[in-house]
Symmetry: C2
Subunit: 223 residues, 2 copies
């Protein structure tokens, strides 16, 4: 099991998060490190999705994970148990990550050696959508049990994301989730968004999403 | 269908939310109005739980609902369709309600005529736990698909609540949720918390929780 490192992050009153995010993106372009910001509600399946996604990606890819949590290290421990470098960012009550916090977390990783870093943001559909973390791509998970009305209620999250993973598709049989209605609502907010239906638990659909992410990473590294 | 009123709430930089909360509790004691603050992740089933709970409560009870949402009115419309007075508090991006916002929402209701007001807080396990709304009791919903690790990750929410409703119990068969493990984690944080297992969708277990709430309301009104 890889060692989990813990970093306490506090919210800098950063007058210019956008500038910090741009600086971080420039740094990542230099080191050829693709940064993916993964957001969702609590319990939508971020950690399981990360683990299953990485299983489907090329073994040659060097990967790190930044785990944001308010007060625990359970997710970072799960990631590290799978042999992946994990940094725990403990936010001490803050409900999101900003670019300065992410940058501080990345300082603990050897970016020159890494092709991909995934941020598992705080479980929250509100605040994380408001802060550019410096990521190259933003992805979100909506899990079927949460309901098809989430695009109506958290429109900013669906608007800022490049990818939507509809997870826990294996719950469809028990749910009144209407996929067509949900997709219409999302596409009204964000017609460009890429959408993948998955079950991180069973692995169903993960291959297609992992292939998309692999292509994005390869394109970024080749640039 | 009752008319839905919309109130835009903005966050006052309220130096003393605790004082505002105490003032609100004094006002509610005067009008004999029991205020319940209901919190959960997005999609845990707050609106359905409110509707099913009210069906099981005495018809003589006069009830109102404050619906907090960032940007939509869908929940308030569902509540109003059931013939219940609903006020929509649109938070405009804010991730929680504070006592001043709740107080402003209650100004739109005839508190002297109401025995119970339920606040459906913003779907978020982080920020709402940090703000005393002035409620008499705090309740939270944890839905089975979210997982049994939530007390580890959002400890403050489980600590500030008087009641935990474990919802979507009908998903247990598909889930690896360990009820015993979750209950141990909750009781370590908050040994006094009342816990009810329910399925708001099927109505299973709602009667017991509604009976508990009815007794709390009756006791408060009689005081």
């Amino acid at each position: 099991m890889d060692e989990v490192r813990l970093i306490e992050v506090k919210q800098d009153i950063h007058a210019d998060n956008e500038r910090a995010a741009e600086e971080l993106r420039a740094r990542l372009a230099d080191t050829k490190t693709f940064l993916l910001n993964l957001m969702s509600s609590p319990g939508a399946g971020k950690t399981t999705t990360i683990l299953k996604t990485l299983e489907q990606m090329p073994e040659s890819l060097e990967v790190g994970v930044l785990e944001a949590d308010i007060d625990s290290m359970v997710d970072a421990e799960r990631i590290a148990s799978a042999g992946i470098s994990a940094i725990q960012l403990r936010t001490g009550g803050f409900c999101h990550l900003d670019a300065a916090m992410v940058s501080k977390g990345l300082d603990a990783l050897d970016l020159d050696a890494l092709d991909l870093v995934i941020i598992e943001n705080v479980g929250n559909l509100v605040c994380p959508a408001e802060f550019d973390t410096g990521a190259v791509r933003n992805a979100m998970i909506l899990s079927v049990p949460e309901g098809d009305d989430k695009p109506l209620k958290y429109p900013l999250m669906f608007t800022v994301c490049d990818v939507l993973l509809v997870n826990k598709i294996d719950y469809m049989e028990l749910s009144d989730f209407d996929m067509g209605v949900m997709l219409e609502r999302v596409e009204r907010l964000n017609p460009e968004i890429e959408i993948f239906e998955i079950s991180a638990k069973t692995g169903w659909g993960v291959k297609e999403w992992a292939a998309w992410l692999s292509r994005e990473v390869a394109g970024f590294i080749a640039d």
